[in-house]
């Protein structure tokens, strides 16, 4: 089969690889009908996430048709079922899964010992990501094996298109969880850093959860126009001061809730010297992540506010102002998304026409064009915000 394979920094190839097979009774194989390139795939593309290996099939936003089911998954799935696959693999039986904390499933990471050493405790297995999270082959491919398939799936009705439901596997529940973590009140101003796909979903989620005012921060005009379309007031950080504008919009009090939808690769700007220092340190491996957004959120967030982190961080960050954070009584919430905790509710909202997540798709391409689309997406060329690939 054809699949997008990681071979090193900035080197993704469309290779021919052997077909996946059922390895465990709880496995299923899907024929991928649609998959997408995620912002966090760019962290792999840039080799910022440790423990990638040449030959890794990438991709963790995918859906398709079940073509083979292991004996242990037959009660839950059958051939022909149309499913979205959540990016977090979960067993549904461990203590964390029983609490709905699917992204920290205790059993699905097959490299548990490595994760225990690096993270302190294992987290869930993830598709198409680092070997720290299991090194499972991803879904930017024609076929994919789904471990723990009896649980790791979201069945979707034929009445909805791929484009409407594909993002249930990652970016929609990720934006949603980021907003839910904010415990939004009707009087709240929610500020969202980053208007990429997750930021766009977080904007819509904050609106649906009843925020009084949503403010979106980015520097790319088309992303800002899409954010504005979703009901956000926008701030272009290249042309205006984020701190001043946020304070203006909140009568000097600062946003009640702040969402980081940027993560470890925050924009490097001459106007923000800390971003230049972070980039230099990152280059010589003195720091793995660039946390400018975290610093800015801590500084501008209203005291007793909530900081919700949806953007992916990979390792170590420097110069986090813990003094202001502690003295301002800020609450931090973060984590990989517990996808299936939210998907029943989100699928209902799509079916009812409350939201149509397909708005974010700007480019659709063949799987073979995937390597080129990684660059188009990374360089934000051709108005690109979200790429869907069709194997």
């Amino acid at each position: 089969m054809k699949a997008l394979v990681w071979h090193g920094k900035e080197d993704i190839r469309c290779d021919t690889v052997s077909d996946p097979e059922i390895e465990d009774a709880r496995d299923a194989i899907i024929k991928v009908s649609s998959c997408a390139i995620c912002g966090s795939d760019l962290h792999l593309f840039h080799n910022y996430i440790p423990a990638m290996e040449p030959g890794d099939i990438v991709g963790h936003e995918m859906m398709g048709e079940v073509v083979e089911v292991g004996s242990g998954a037959k009660g839950a799935l059958k051939k022909g079922d149309r499913i979205v696959v959540p990016f977090t693999i979960f067993c549904g039986e461990c203590d964390q899964c029983k609490r709905g904390n699917f992204s920290v499933c205790e059993r699905s990471n097959r490299n548990k010992a490595m994760a225990d050493k690096v993270f302190g405790h294992t987290t869930a297995g993830l598709f198409g990501y680092t070997h720290l999270t299991g090194g499972y082959p991803g879904g930017q491919a024609e076929y994919m094996r789904v471990p723990f398939a009896d649980k790791t799936h979201i069945k979707v009705p034929d009445t909805l298109s791929d484009e409407q439901v594909l993002f249930l596997g990652d970016i929609f529940p990720t934006g949603w969880q980021a907003a839910v973590n904010c415990e939004i009140e009707p009087t709240d101003t929610v500020a969202i850093w980053g208007c990429g796909p997750v930021g766009q979903m977080a904007i819509r989620s904050a609106v649906l959860l009843g925020a009084k005012q949503v403010v979106a921060i980015d520097c790319i005009p088309e992303r800002l126009s899409m954010a504005e379309a979703g009901g956000a007031i926008t701030i272009n950080f290249e042309t205006e001061s984020v701190v001043e504008r946020l304070n203006d919009l909140t009568s000097g009090k600062g946003p009640d809730k702040c969402i980081d939808a940027v993560g470890l690769e925050s924009h490097v700007s001459m106007g923000q010297p800390d971003t230049i220092l972070d980039r230099a340190k990152q280059m010589v491996m003195m720091e793995s992540d660039r946390p400018h957004v975290l610093r800015e959120m801590i500084y501008v967030c209203r005291p007793a506010g909530i900081i919700s982190i949806a953007g992916v961080y990979g390792g170590l960050v420097d110069k986090i102002p813990m003094g202001p954070a502690m003295n301002k009584s800020l609450t931090f919430r973060m984590g990989q998304t517990h996808v299936n905790r939210w998907t029943d509710d989100l699928l209902r909202r799509i079916e009812e026409g409350q939201i149509d997540p397909s708005f974010v798709i700007t480019h659709t391409a063949k799987l073979e064009d995937g390597p080129e689309m990684y660059k188009v997406f990374r360089n934000k060329q051709d108005g690109c915000i979200k790429v869907v690939l069709k194997p």
Binding site: P54, G231, L347
Partner: protein, 191 residues
Amino acid sequence: MTFIANAVQRSDNPRVQSTGPSSLDSSDRLARNLGWFSIGLGITQIVAARSLSRTLGIPESENLIRAFGAREIASGMLTLSLEKKAGLYSRIAGDALDLAVLSTAVKEDNPKRGNAAMALAMVAGVTLLDVAAALGVSRNNARDPHDERDYSDRSGFPKGVQAARRQAEDADEKPVKALSPPQTAFSGQRA
């Protein structure tokens, strides 16, 4: 690469049978090769500064060659990083310095001027490669400033933003306590 990929992968992961088109284009590859060349040359200049300076007939420039070696290593690291455009332009600036120093060595009273002339020609050739790589990398990764798209019609709310806000008010969306059990019981069996 296929051999390496299959050698390091877990035995139960799919094997790469043949490799296809890469996201790396020719200018990326040229930049990568120039980055490694820069580091190799830099190490050589630091380690063998004395013999290089004598070969070029400029024994008084031994320390300068070492300094240039350090510069080559720094440029090489930058060229191998994601900031390869900056790395390549720093290499071009370095090439200009090299050319300036070597041109002073190509003079009548230098018995090794033949070596210096050959080095000058080599640096000129590498400069052309640096310029080609820098232009290619700049062109291929540039965002066209005139190619702005207007997505102001993409609200994502089929009934409009105001309807979404009204719905939130009418439904009196309760904030979900992040640390409480899931708002919606997980079934995994929907539809």
